[in-house]
Symmetry: C2
Subunit: 329 residues, 2 copies
DNA sequence: TTGTAAGCGTTATCAC
DNA sequence: GTGATAACGCTTACAA
């Protein structure tokens, strides 16, 4: 494998000049540049990024820790992150946090100089970093999840407003017993969306009923469970608002198994706007999150942060997508 | 940020000893080890992987180039790769090849010393590497796609056999006009599965009809297009075999729009065994590919290859999953 | 068992 | 505009 030395030898210049030619071509003379470029081709030289990184003290790599790669909601976000990353000469290391302790392993990489920054995608702040919240954190952006104190730059939509809008839409269509399927645990995201739901109820004087709230995983099984639960209620809801399309898909499926027809007997509202929603039966009414854009903006924020700029929160627009799973009561 | 020097100073040893303590603790004396370990804690020392990698001439990083992150078929495979990778102290750099030229950018990383090996996931061999096929390629494993000459280690299922099995199943149920939705382009994967389809027909003396083959993208829209096409035929098929569940989902949806009931009027067979298939309406009969296992084995193969061992092909078992979208003619 | 010192391949500083 | 040279932080002969 050819190194700069080989190129330098062949071009009859010093390695310093080779380096300059590669990094700042206009800083060397025309003839030197040509000679070096020729030598690079002849030797088949490729830069050793390791060495460069060590010297420059940067890796041009970012780590994305995602709560579950399998969740299709994240894949487009990752795509957006990746697009923005390569466009700016960054590499993306992917970390799946669906197993215990993995978030720690991956957030370590910033300290071991394998990455310049960290994106937490739908993942709460790992413990070791939490301890450092008040001192110095590495460049870090959260996407689609919040730190309770909101001290960390976050990219996402206005979850409270979106959930409120979704609920209002159901109310407008005459529903007042509205089931709500949240995510598991008491993470800030769930709290936000639940708050939007409550606000919509309150605005129309519909009493809040604890019984209508159920926490489930963001997947079809979670939705199925929720549907069964609601069905077992003495007075089941006439509409169900899921915090994720993946849950809504399970609700749809389970409703069908129970002989409940959607939207005639039950309205189902999703959240996320996954492409699959247009292919469900019935097609899924939902809140669209601009996923690719979320990814791009997240990466942009992180790059700001790595440049030392103060990273600020970024709120992207969502959109109510009206399709076939919600109807008038 | 503390370096070995700091640790060495504090522990009153040389940096060499610090290094030894970290890499091979049994090679230093008990007391030294304890002193060093203490100093590591006190200084908050973290190793600089860049420097280590440069010195050791390895990165413990692999690149996974995937044809489209968005395709849910790949996400579980990536998960398997990632699991096996972290378990063996490797990092995964994720590359999406859905845009032009990206496969090249990512396969370059092996040459610029940012990765030790390369996984091509559903991606054909990039041009620059193709040129080197006969000389020396870097450690490389293909998954779910083949190099025409089969010179490269490949991990996957027996696609020909699986497609044959799927088709045979349809034939057994009385179908003899069977539409086939392949992937786009004439990549080896498509060829394999098409061959299995043809073999099943031939075995039962059903004439092959070019009209019943249509190439579409591996997504629901592709399936929709295919369904419309088949519907326009003078003599439409009574069953459709899709090379991907994602296509089958589109077929299901489009059939519904056309008022064709599945499986009563039309049988639909998928391929891949995505989780979503159990939630379709009707539930999808399909061929299951062991995706997480495919990922793990792929990573294992690559590690073999990086160790210099001869990487061989690995064929994993598939399974026909009978659900609700296929019925007797 | 431990220290010395060279070297991995690059880049930045400083002369010339 | 170019060349020497030191340095980035670590590992590993080789010596002690």
């Amino acid at each position: 494998m050819a190194t700069m030395k080989d190129v330098a030898l062949l071009a009859n210049v010093s390695t310093a000049t080779v380096s300059r030619t590669l990094v700042k071509p206009e800083s060397v003379s025309e003839t030197t540049r040509l000679r070096v470029e020729q030598a690079v081709i002849e030797t088949g030289y490729k830069i050793n990024s390791q060495a460069r990184s060590l010297r420059r003290n940067e890796t041009r790599t970012v780590v994305v820790v995602v709560s579950d790669i399998d969740n299709p909601f994240y894949s487009e976000i990752i795509k957006g992150i990746e697009q923005e990353a390569v466009a700016n000469d960054y590499l993306v290391v992917l970390g799946d946090a669906s197993q215990q302790e993995r978030d720690r392993i991956y957030s370590e990489l910033v300290y071991t100089r394998q990455a310049d920054g960290l994106i937490l995608l739908g993942v709460p702040l790992p413990k070791p970093l939490k301890a450092k919240l008040n001192s110095s954190l590495p460049p870090l952006v959260m996407a689609c999840e919040y730190e309770p104190d909101r001290k960390l730059p976050t990219v996402g939509i206005d979850n409270r407003a979106a959930a409120k809008e979704a609920t209002e839409y159901l109310i407008k269509l005459g529903h007042h017993r509205i089931g709500c399927v949240t995510g598991m645990g008491d993470n800030p995201l769930t709290v936000c969306r639940l708050q939007g739901y409550k606000e919509a109820l309150a605005a129309t004087n519909i009493p809040f009923d604890e019984q209508l709230i159920v926490a489930e995983a963001y997947n079809p099984d979670g939705g199925s469970n929720a549907m069964r639960y609601f069905h077992s209620l003495a007075e089941p809801p006439t509409a169900i608002f899921c915090h994720a399309d993946t849950q809504a898909i399970g609700v749809l499926h389970q409703a069908r198994s129970l002989g409940i027809s959607v939207p005639e007997q039950l309205s189902v509202m999703g959240f996320d706007g996954l492409p699959i929603g247009s292919y469900c039966f019935p097609t899924l009414t939902t809140i669209l999150q601009p996923r690719v854009e979320l990814g791009r903006v997240t990466m942009q924020s992180l790059m700001d942060s790595m440049k030392g700029l103060p990273a600020r929160d970024r709120l992207l627009p969502h959109e109510l997508i009206i399709r076939g799973s919600v109807a008038m009561r």
